[in-house]
Symmetry: D2
């Protein structure tokens, strides 16, 4: 974090005690044009941030403060790294200021308010701002993001699944009625909450599916794919929990309606100008460790046995391209910076 000068982007963060929050701080602390001014947390008010996360010692000197609209409104950009519901409750007040809001929570991702309320089991707290929100997937919405006042950063699973299916849908190559996304996530996706289910002794040396009957990311993914397809898309989405901390791997299945196309070329062409989507050479498959801590999605496309089922493999770090990195990417866009500014991290291998 460089000292505050006129050109620096003044940043506030609401709720940075969780894993998405500390990842955001890691990225922003190394961003050459950012000055983090305010970090709020009701629960940890007064605690130096680096005491909660000793990895930030010497990099972040602030303490948590209580949320304060004026202090946040004085920033250029405010990030929400909060559970759902919080951003909704503060949005009307914050929107009065000349500030860009980048929300990493689920509050403004889904356009259909009844659908949101059904999946999240509560009344939407700020339906009037849903129309304003731009879905922050730069590979699809770059131009709208640049002009947005409120950006809803996609969920981790939705990022990996949408980027994976995107070329097939845009090119009209698959049956849209029976897509399958078999995804697996590291445990950090479950957040930093004291739950028995997420204990080391529960998750270590084990693997399981969860939310098979219905996961909150399903309507978000179906909405995104339907926009791409310009028609209703049906997805079977089965998330799993991996005994590792960071990383999402989605294995996507679809039935090809055209089989004469060179899928590798379709993917390479679609993403050749995308700085954060990397189509691997034919025959190479991604692994989650390669993208650990990096804002990158690596993809492979395969047609096993030359049959008409296409398989796409898509990996991201759920905390980086799946959350905080994508949020910073959106900030760069909305502030007119080169999109890769401060996002050159290389995956930590091994």
């Amino acid at each position: 974090m460089t000292s505050s000068v006129a050109k620096q982007i003044q940043v506030g963060i609401v709720g940075a005690t969780g894993y998405t929050g500390v990842e955001l701080l890691r990225l922003l602390a190394g961003h050459p044009h950012v000055d983090v001014r305010v970090i709020t947390s009701r629960g940890e008010k007064g605690l130096p941030v680096a005491e909660l996360y000793p990895s930030l010692r010497g990099h972040v000197d602030l303490s948590f403060v209580e949320p304060d609209n004026e202090a946040l409104g004085a920033c250029d950009v405010v990030f929400f790294a909060t559970p759902h519901g919080v951003a909704q409750s503060m949005m009307s007040d914050l929107m009065k200021y000349d500030v860009k809001v980048i929300d990493l929570s689920a509050d403004f991702r889904i356009k259909d308010i009844a659908l949101w309320e059904k999946w999240y089991g509560q009344k939407h707290g700020a339906p009037q701002w849903v129309g304003e929100a731009v879905y922050g997937l730069p590979e699809v919405n770059r131009a709208q993001i640049a002009k947005a006042k409120l950006i809803a950063v996609p969920g981790c699973y939705p990022t990996s699944v949408q980027l994976g299916f995107l070329p097939l849908i845009e090119a009209g190559l698959i049956n849209l009625n029976s897509l399958i996304a078999n995804s697996a996530s590291g445990v950090s996706g479950a957040g930093r909450q004291a739950k028995i289910d997420n204990l080391f002794s529960e998750m270590g040396e084990s693997f399981k599916a969860y939310g098979v009957a219905g996961h909150r990311h399903l309507p978000e993914i179906e909405q995104g794919l339907s926009v791409l397809a310009n028609q209703k898309v049906n997805l079977t989405f089965v998330p799993h929990l991996l005994p590792l901390t960071r990383g999402i791997h989605s294995t996507l299945y679809a039935t090809l309606t055209k089989t004469s196309v060179d899928l590798q070329s379709v993917y390479e062409a679609r993403f050749k100008n995308e700085p954060f989507v990397d189509v691997l050479p034919a025959g190479v498959f991604p692994q989650t460790r390669t993208v650990k801590g990096a804002n990158i999605c690596q993809l492979a496309v395969v047609r096993p046995q030359g049959r008409d089922t296409v398989v796409v493999l898509s990996v991201i770090d759920n905390l980086t391209k799946g959350a905080a990195g994508q949020a910073v990417q959106c900030m760069n866009i909305v502030r007119g910076l080169p999109e890769t500014t401060g996002l050159h991290h290389i995956g930590l291998v091994p």
Copy 2:
């Protein structure tokens, strides 16, 4: 291992230095009616078995010896826990003796010899014994196993996938042309070989697909499913590697052709008399740790969103129900013992 008395089964093991071998020894050492007499290994000849695996100190007092047909032929049962090719090379000599052979390798699983040769990249060394071999999946082949002289124990992935699809296929409920098996295995499935790919620093904190274009277990699974269906079945099979040692989780997808059926009841009815297949209550999903070290397959069946895609979750310990435990189960059957003898192990949780 109890001392040798008249009724004890005299057992020989060919190639017990690998993970399947040590698991077999763990199970046989605790089996009340088994006396292990011979354990062979060319490479480790002369080495006490418990020196290689200190967990066996006090339980297995034998040393590895060179393979010797006479000593093996004097046994009641000989297990092969060898890489493919070895059992083929010794089978004709061994079949001269009055001995039951239980082969844990891939040598006699596939009935179509040309298909075997294509996937394993070598000439079959004992095609004349393929017809003799019974595929050792008790839940399908119990009666034939009881009378077999040569049993080909299924692979780990094939066990989890076949048991998972079995009720759907037998009941004629799904489209057989586009099955999908998305499987994930612990690293022990790759064996105890000095390969960079299987190092802790390569596999830890990571997840990846492999063999997407074609894995050797694909033809074995398709053969098994086709027998069940009495017609050709097409499967897309994508295996993945988990950062854990033991466990396989298969997530299976199929398109229902009949949707009026209570799938939970179909599964419970099919397996209600099976001691080693456990259909979980509706809404409960299996996890690999639950079956760690136990000879059990736990299953769940789900129909997400009430659509026409059915999802089956199937877990086993790849070394137990996926290899050594199933082999002992076959031995019990072929020797007329209660099928569960010596196989009461409870999953090691946590």
Copy 3:
């Protein structure tokens, strides 16, 4: 669990929802002379045990009930697998019955009541029973355990440290003023409680010391070593947390006062009749995985560079020889069974 016949030991368990409890159930369910009759839990009253731990499906058919002195008093043996304080609160009532109590908690381990109250930060609830309690380390107290009505099973760290130092102290070979125990435990030692510190995302891929200034097992270990030495012993004890679930490894350091002794022989002689302590051959070092799920302590003794510092390596499974297994061993002794009954489990390798 076999059906109840006259000779079977009727067993009750207080508080079996934690990791020590499920391990106790795993061992008792396979014990040939035990019939578990009562499993209590205030919080989970009414819940089938196998619903909480699906690994017990088909092995344990009971549901949790509220603690009830009469039902417990009707048992032959009652185990406490509870947090400290609980056994103290129930002891006076239970002692009225003809029942043996085996307490896996810390309630009756420390003889000096003031010392207990200092380290556990609360008033002792049953000081009158402390004198009655026998410290359940069979390798030291076998005869007293056989006659005891109340057995205080040692803690996990104390078991590994005391067994490791035992031969050196009994033989009078070391300076007793400056012992060091550098121990490392798997996360299951921290129990099944919803704490952020024990989340997978906090403990995975990390290692740390804790309780360096003082851990509750310090006074217990010093008490045990002082009894062995018949004089005050000073120990520096530094526990650490490993990113694995089961296992304790203690690396012990002491200054030799006699250097002409063959330490390997001293260790082998001391433990040659102990069924659950295994001194490895010279030059072989123990690893925690070897004893996973087995009721065994493996030891090595080394004198690096021939200097006068001796190093002892001691491993156990914290849930087995460090808790539930040792408790069952005590039960066998107190009931006059062969000490190894129901405890033949082999370490789950790999």
Copy 4:
């Protein structure tokens, strides 16, 4: 990696296929004043570096070439990330050029050639250059490093142990005859070699000591501590292997000869100007994950129970401050750059 301009440091790397090599590339690719020109590997000649390590796609565009003295000699700085013996064999030829050599291997760390030959079991290949070599621990040797032509970067264990003991020895507070270093390392310290011992299935969910009778880092540490103490220091060093990839944690023990000193202040004073040594606040203990990927050593000092044994906890990332990061730190010093240039990475948490 920026394009080559006049001021950029031209860098060559010998042997970058291992874990130290890929970490060096990660750091150098992000270093603002470095231009990597040559990366050699006999075994992987011709292979694009980013094909071996897909995390470097888009960051490193070179392919491995055969070692070539002329190409290396044309660089400003040459790093060796090779097994021991290689740098020795090339040193005489390379020293003819105007190049700084930074050797990450053990070839020039030990001043006593007979001692080196005893521990490494081979004849030293370049004894004439040992006197020239400066031991690259900046916190001790900064001035000499600045003037060195050949820098021997310390081993990973030696870095953590020496930085931990340094203030105690410099201040003359401890008995130098009986130091203890109980260290634990992630598996990446064992390198990227195809060995059964380092397989995931061997190392996962396990912990063990190794090299207890004598590890090659012992003479290196004793040499370093003896230089600090200006007298012979005796250390008992017991390394252990952790089931994680990156991180070293050393738990150090010594007997205080002066107990009236405020140890916390001694540590804070000694390191207050060191950018890469961080003394934690009293009562806070380090964990390895905090420094993952960061060039930092975090320390705590404790005196348990107020007795005369002092305990120091020292953590580093074995690949960063324990190898590649320290090497880059040395490069910055020898080239006159601010020591922290290109080394601002924050530990990847969680």
